[in-house]
Amino acid sequence: MSAASVHSLWTMGADSTAKIPTPHIEYAQLSPVLIVLGAACLGVLVEAFVPRKGRYYAQVFLAVVALVASFAAIVALAAGGYGSTKAHIAAMGAVAVDGPALFLQGTILLASLVSIFTFAERRLDPEAHGNRVDSFAAQAASVPGSESEQSAVKAGFTTTEVFPLALFAVGGMLVFPAANDLLTLFIALEVFSLPLYLLCAVARRKRLMSQEAAVKYFLLGAFSSAFLLFGIALLYGYAGSVSYAKIAAVVEGSVSTIDPALADTMGNDALLLIGAAMILAGLLFKVGAVPFHMWTPDVYQGAPTPVTGFMAAATKVAAFGALLRLLYVVLPGLRWDWRPVMWAVAIVTMLGGAIVAITQTDIKRLLAYSSIAHAGFILAGVIATTPDGVSAVLFYLGGYSFVTIGAFAVVTLVRDAGGEATHLSKWAGLGRRSPLVAAVFAIFLLAFAGIPLTSGFAGKFAVFKAAAEGGAGPLVVVGVLSSAVAAFFYIRVIVLMFFSEPKADGPTVAVPSPLTMTTIGVGVAVTLVLGVAPQYFLDLANQASVFVR
């Protein structure tokens, strides 16, 4: 193309700025996100103006009220038909309000609510200088083991900033699966990632490990989001727009008006293929799929356990939501190119996660590898490319997130002098020492393994059924095989807890406050209800499985 024609295009673009209409924002439909982000901003003000003694209570109250109010807004929107008949694209094409978005946002909010309870737990650690302490550092800025840290502990400081940080993360996660253009996708990704990097760094015990986890997560996360951004740049170059609908039209070749510049870039498949691959790499990193999973075990192990539970559940839900929308709305025209790649990723993720988990000796790392394997199972449903695939993935994510949060909440209870006793050998004989906690943990492990009458079975069944019907039979075979491998190490932990002698210097089980009890109770209840009577929720996921374009 000649420079003159480029220039004329350019000045036309500049002239049309005079005609840009005022943006039309549907505040009511965006209210779930606005409530959470508004409460997060209020939380920052609370940090600035409320006296130190009252901050913890003010922050917990604010966070819980915001999440409940936001969930109520989601239910109101869904009841108003926005999940089905009135589904549309709000905020000038930036955010979709449709079934999958509302379902995943509801899941994220409920999962965050029960996570916030574990954030607020203050009865597990012994009191320090007469002050109750939670899982977070007295003062994150002070060097571990320094005098300033000791004086902060003595003064009874706590990092109450974790609540607004968590709310900001939740706000980003709510937008992520609903993002309807690539710019919103990227901003939402950063809005939920940045607070998570910080949350990883503020553990009260094992602070060096926690900081190390945060550095690893941050550097690798920033690296992956740079890939995502370059992918976005290439897709923008290919289609001349970042809107999902326009890119999808260009990919399918059904675009109505083609100007010379678009005709030039549309013919260049390298832009499309490399761009899509880079965006997928960025999303698969957040999902924790092999070969982008390297950060998962270290970050899950090093982060404060309540944060690990929150991150493992809510991030996965948000990232799979974004992945589904990208593959089903933007790139269905490219299906024959991305399906083989995703096949390979799903297979190595399922097998890799399950096999490496066998060798783990730390319970948090074990759960991290199990989450990698689960990412593979969910990917099998994503590959189905049928409405059933979408609803199966939605259902799986709903069940899985509560199991994960519950399991990590149980991990916070088993403690010795150094904090949480995460080494597996210390869990030996836990069933004799504390039958109830061991039994609850066994339920979660059975749900991870996919044993009937738990949510894990219903979810896996739905996902594999959808994958088989979507023409991915071999994938289902690999999935069932790796489920069997995974079941081995889940059962091994159960055997260790119930059929071995407790050690004399073994850990004690702390008695939690009603907060953590609620978290674990909700986890068990959801696991059993989704396992015994999944039909209502499968129907709900089915109704919510249509993406708006």
């Binding site: 060097v143 901003i187 190390e212 920033a222 727009s241 510049a261 870039t265």
Partner: protein, 99 residues
């Protein structure tokens, strides 16, 4: 000049940044390489914006700058706290969780 040349430059910068992330051992330098990758993205956005004659790409470049600034705030806080605890910002030294 043909705007495609700027795309070649953007890809080159992005590759240099990615290689730097993988090769360099100091966390600060690794982080600078990530910033270089983000700047390469900005250049690509602006070049594509010029090619297509719409303003989307330029606006995204502004968003990217804001995100990069926010990332610097968070990233430096984390890296500095690690450095103060260990007197080293090498990513090889951070290996407490190695099996």
């Amino acid at each position: 000049m043909n705007p495609v040349n700027y795309l070649y430059l953007a890809s080159l910068l992005f590759t240099i940044g990615a290689a730097g992330v993988l090769i360099r051992r100091n966390a600060i330098v690794v982080f600078m390489c990530v910033e270089l990758m983000l700047n390469a993205c900005n250049l690509a956005f602006v070049a594509f914006s010029r090619m297509h004659g719409n303003l989307d790409g330029q606006i995204i470049a502004f968003f990217t700058m804001v995100v990069a600034a926010a990332e610097v705030v968070v990233g430096l806080a984390i890296i500095v706290s690690l450095f103060r605890a260990r007197h080293s910002a090498s990513v090889d030294d951070a290996s407490l969780m190695k099996l």
